[in-house]
């Protein structure tokens, strides 16, 4: 059976120190080879061998990751197709970057369970395993559905839908010219008009993608700062979060700052925890690093977890920290709830304003669930983060957006070359379809509905 080439990260995110990008299909080896720099070309190596080298961004010429690449030629592979596995060890950031580069090589992101499905369809696994395959597809689909549902409410889908509506207007205007050539009440779409409209769309796509390229959240995590007076439980909180999520991907001591960054995954929200543990606990944090420095740190944060000792009365230092948060999204933790409450709850509430206040106890592990929920709800309700489009973090979405950009670029090129508008239309339609895949809108009648609701057609 002859399928297209697919790729995906084949190790669950965060499990294990090595992440593998797996490719399967007729172009698996050639696609990987275009990115690989080693002593030999992958197309020349023996089957079932492993090779050391680098993955290089072919456009920027930059080395992205040191890797070990296994090449397995069909038919003795899991899928009975050519399979390449790129072993990355640099953590979330680089494995996603590698996958993105792979997907730029005319390789499609695998659907949930697709490797297994191919293995089955190509007769690699037997009947008894078929049921398991079904379960897999089903389970993954449900999961994907859930993710899709929560993203549906997000700004990304609103943005994409708006963009699609614009495209739909263009499409309908061209279609009406084609199907009703004598109808005189529709703007005649010229290449100039198309070019102008397509440029606007491309700008939008670029804007969305630019935030994705920074890979702000997915690759770096939501930069999160834990602050609070000494001995209020910051380290315990950090440890709890790290322990809870079991998702330490990397542990890199900051080079310029005396901070430690921990990557954790809280209910699907990747956090880059910037701990102030590097600063001696005994010192007054604000005094120690200076007001300017604290501000800088807090201002660069996308989420602040402010701990207050519930067992003590509020101090001026606490109040100053509240001020320093500024407009950054924050969650207030009234910690040490296992001890009698001494802090004025009214004052905390007043200082917190609209920010959520949770009672926690690091010792009893109380309130952590609520904290995770609060983080997740902040993230998904879009209040967190600086850029509105920061949620283009999903690799599938990025890949689709890139394809959409390339389609709209084709449209612009066609318009420039003076090709007939119905050719340019093919690329615009493709852009529309690709964006539709992001929001899961595949209803094909929309164009025709638009046509008839907008124009008074028919003789």
């Amino acid at each position: 059976m002859d399928y297209d080439t697919i790729a995906a990260i084949s190790t669950p995110v965060g499990e294990g120190a090595i992440s593998i990008v797996r490719l399967s299909g007729p172009d698996a080896i050639s696609a990987a080879d275009r990115l690989f720099q080693g002593s030999k070309s992958l197309s020349e190596v023996h089957s079932h061998t492993i090779h050391y080298g680098k993955i290089v961004d072919p456009q920027e010429g930059q080395s992205v990751e040191e890797v070990m690449v296994s090449v397995m030629r069909k038919p003795k592979t899991f899928t009975r197709e050519d399979v390449v596995e790129i072993n990355c060890h640099g953590g979330l950031t680089s494995v996603h970057r590698v996958l993105e580069l792979v997907l730029d090589q005319n390789v499609r992101l695998a659907e949930p369970g697709e490797f297994t499905k191919r293995a089955f369809l190509n007769g690699r696994i037997d009947l008894s395993q078929a049921e398991a395959v079904m379960d897999l597809i089903r389970a993954k689909t449900d999961q994907a559905m859930n993710v899709a549902m929560s993203q549906m409410e997000g700004k990304l889908s609103i943005l994409i839908r708006k963009l699609r509506d614009r495209l739909l207007e263009i499409l309908a205007a061209v279609e009406v010219n084609i199907d009703y050539p004598e109808y005189d009440d529709a703007e005649v779409m010229t290449n100039n008009i198309l070019h102008e409209k397509a440029s606007e769309v491309r700008q939008q796509i670029d804007r969305i993608l630019s935030t994705a390229r920074q890979g702000k959240i997915l690759r770096e995590g939501l930069s999160t700062v834990i602050v609070g007076r000494p001995n209020v439980g910051k380290s315990s909180l950090l440890n709890q979060l790290v322990h809870e999520s079991k998702a330490i991907v990397t542990n890199v001591p900051g080079t310029t700052r005396d901070v430690i960054e921990e990557y954790v995954n809280v209910r699907g929200v990747p956090l880059k925890l910037i701990d102030t543990a590097g600063i001696r606990e005994t010192d007054d944090i604000v005094e120690k690093i200076g007001v300017t420095r604290s501000k800088e740190l807090l201002q660069s944060a996308e989420l602040i977890l402010l701990l207050v000792n519930g067992n003590e009365k509020l101090t001026d230092e606490d109040r100053r920290l509240f001020q320093l948060i500024g407009k950054t999204p924050a969650i207030i933790l009234l910690n040490k709830a296992d001890l009698p409450l001494e802090a004025s709850i009214d004052e905390v509430a007043q200082l917190a304003g609209e920010r959520p206040v949770l009672k926690t106890s690091m010792i009893n592990e109380k309130g952590l669930d609520e904290l995770e929920k609060a983080i997740a709800s902040l993230f998904f309700s879009q209040d967190v983060s600086t850029g509105a489009e920061a949620y283009v973090s999903n690799t599938r979405h990025i890949a689709l957006l890139k394809q959409a950009r390339s389609a709209i670029n084709d449209a612009l090129e066609a318009a420039d070359q003076g090709l007939p508008v119905d050719m340019t239309q093919i690329d615009i339609k493709r852009t529309w379809d690709l964006l539709g895949e992001i929001v899961g809108d595949t209803v094909s009648d929309r164009l025709i509905n638009e046509l008839f609701s907008k124009f008074c057609l028919g003789k």
Partner: protein
């Protein structure tokens, strides 16, 4: 045609055929001709011989998408193209300023001549019997259709029956407060067959369409209108046509105005559409003038095309003024229109309601799933338009004949023909309103051009026995010439020279700096095949249509290849067949809605399944696995 109460109609055996076609409209005539030409002994029954190939609505054939269908019919060996080429009063190429994919021919027909020519062709066709008779019911035994019974008592037997009943099934004409049972233009309606189909278990829907008033051309003041002449260039639908009609007749353009709209507004309470008298669903793409005015009340005017109905008549069709308003209101409306102030109305416009079969009850061969050997084609399947009807009629006739002759059905896919798109849409998605083809319904529009219909379909037409050898030879010669010329363009180099410079300057194109292949040069948007060919040494005379193909194929190669890649993907899924008896309730994991829809539609391939509305990619993945599992089980078990 009421019989005396209590008197039982005696039925008699009136003969046996391979194929019976019920109806002789645009679907029926194609079905009958195709079946007979394929060697099936065919009977064509029609309520009235006056109704053969009748055009009850606009006097035109073709237009975007529809015009391509006519070409496809021609390439497959159908008749519509030939017939309109013999009987047009005007021919135009539309969308000439756009790309080749959307260009389309449209002809204004001489209605009477069109009918007469078609009837003559039918009468001259061997194996084909044309007979007047109203079919009241079918002879069905154990889920197999064996024949039909006519009102006179004649029982005809056949291996296949094709129903092409158009708008005749329980047809009802509505003009304002007036309503009566009728086929189009006061033809007799067919009542019993509709009830019979329902009794057989078919789901029927009620659709509606309409037509405008006709006026006497002698009383029209054309000076107040704009002329719309035909093209001077010799144009034809059929690839066979060699003779072109010279003395064309123009159409005329005028407009409604606020005065017209006011009359309609004031009488909306008398409009059957808004009073609720009309229950059938009408088409959005062909709305009545009252619908246009209500839905688009910001528009101050609407276009009206005055189209002569023929050479030997003064009747003029007021295209754009389709209406079911009372006759009195129609006359007032006409009097407000520039050029029609004193026009004599000859027939009022009317709406017509009719029963149609829900088309998802059909296989892609147009055979019904419920009753083997029974096919339906044309407006009975929920479409509108002569071309849509003819395309289905042709396929219905072909497949009815193939069934009778013991052959597999012919199914065109979405990349092969608009006819394929049309039928796939109908049987896969159904339709909630009278269905019309639009170019935007085709995902491979660039491949489904009107200029390459012969390249796409002649081979098939020949294989099934509808394209004669002589025509096929001519086709092969053309195809060979195209390939040769493309090859020549691919290898021949053009060097910069004074004559090349002169051409480039005259075309506002960049000058040639280095030698270039003719093919590359042709890719430049400013240059045509003729331009580039003029720079090449003589290499025999190349027919215009060959040059046209070379130009299109070279110029749009990138886009064509992109679509071909998509087609390849689509075909892979079309090749995965689904057994007809597949029990979807046994497949775990398919969503409930998808399961229901798949059970209803019973797609023949995974490709078709994926186009059923409400079926998601995950359902398809599970279906694929299930099918594969079944294969394995059979192999090992």
């Amino acid at each position: 045609m009421n019989r005396k109460e209590g008197l039982e109609m005696k039925s008699y055996n009136a003969g046996t055929y391979d194929v019976i076609v019920v109806g002789a409209g645009h679907a029926g005539v194609e079905a009958g001709l195709a079946a007979a030409r394929m060697g099936a002994k065919t009977l064509m029954l029609t309520i009235s011989l006056e109704g053969v190939a009748f055009m009850p609505c606009n006097p035109s054939v073709g237009g975007p998408a529809k015009g391509v269908v006519v070409r496809e019919i021609d390439a497959l060996g159908g008749e519509m193209g030939h017939n309109i080429d013999k009987t047009y009063i005007q021919m135009r190429m539309l969308n000439t300023r756009k790309g080749p994919a959307v260009r389309a021919l449209r002809a204004q027909a001489d209605k009477q001549l069109y009918q007469r020519a078609m009837k003559e062709t039918i009468e001259e066709t061997e194996n084909l019997t044309l007979r007047q008779g109203m079919v009241d019911h079918l002879i069905v035994e154990e889920g197999v259709c064996k024949g039909v019974v006519v009102a006179t008592g004649a029982a005809y037997y056949a291996k296949s029956v094709v129903l092409t009943t158009g708008v005749y099934l329980k047809g009802k004409i509505i003009i304002g407060e007036l309503q009566y049972e009728s086929g189009p233009n006061n033809m007799q309606a067919s009542v019993k067959l509709s009830d019979h189909l329902k009794a057989l278990g078919f789901d029927l829907v009620r659709f509606k369409t309409g037509t405008p008033p006709r006026v006497n051309g002698r009383t029209v003041d054309y000076s107040k209108t704009e002329i719309q002449p035909g093209d001077d260039a010799p144009l034809a639908f059929s690839y066979d046509t060699k003779e072109f009609i010279k003395d064309q007749i123009p159409c005329w353009l005028t407009y409604t105005n606020l005065e017209t709209h006011k009359i309609i507004q004031e009488n909306l309470d008398r409009s059957p559409i808004f009073s609720g008298a009309i229950v059938g669903t009408g088409p959005r793409y062909c709305p009545s003038i009252e619908t246009k005015i209500v839905r688009f009340n910001d528009k101050n005017r609407h276009q009206l095309f005055l189209e002569p109905e023929g050479k030997a008549t003064k009747e003029v069709y007021v295209d754009g003024l389709s209406t079911s308003m009372p006759e009195e209101v129609q006359r007032k409306m006409l009097a407000t229109i520039p050029g029609l102030e004193h026009a004599e109305m000859m027939r009022p416009g009317y709406a017509i309601e009719y029963d149609a079969v829900v088309p998802t009850q059909l296989w892609p061969s147009l055979e019904t799933k419920k009753i083997s050997g029974l096919f339906t084609a044309g407006q009975i399947n929920g479409t509108s338009g002569y071309e849509e009807a003819a395309g289905q009629g042709l396929m219905g006739g072909i497949n009815a004949a193939r069934k009778a002759l013991g052959k597999e059905p012919l199914i065109l896919d979405r990349s092969e023909a608009y006819i394929g798109v049309l039928i796939d849409d109908l049987v896969t998605k159904g339709t909630k309103e009278p269905y019309r083809l639009l170019t935007s319904r085709a995902e491979y529009r660039l491949l489904l051009r009107h200029d390459n219909a012969d390249l796409r379909l002649t081979e098939i037409g020949h294989q099934i026995g509808l394209i004669p050898d002589e025509r096929y030879e001519r086709f092969l010669a053309k195809k060979h010439l195209i390939e040769q010329e493309r090859q020549y363009f691919a290898v021949t180099t053009i060097k910069p020279s004074e004559s090349v410079d002169a051409l480039m300057k005259s075309k506002d194109a960049a000058l040639l700096r280095e030698p270039m292949k003719a093919e590359q040069l042709l890719k430049r948007p400013e240059l045509s095949y003729q331009d580039v060919a003029s720079l090449l040494p003589e290499h025999g005379s190349i027919p215009v249509e060959v040059g046209e193909q070379v130009e299109i194929q070279v110029k749009y190669e990138g886009y064509i290849n992109k679509q071909l890649q998509q087609v390849e993907k689509m075909k892979r899924m079309e090749k995965k067949k689904i057994p007809q008896d597949l029990d979807y309730s046994k497949i775990d994991g398919i969503a409930t809605e998808a399961r229901q829809k798949l059970t209803d539609v019973r797609p023949i391939s995974v490709g078709q399944a994926s186009r059923v509305s409400g079926v998601n990619p995950s359902d398809i993945a599970i279906l694929l696995v299930y099918l594969e599992e079944g294969k394995l089980a059979r192999r090992t078990g």
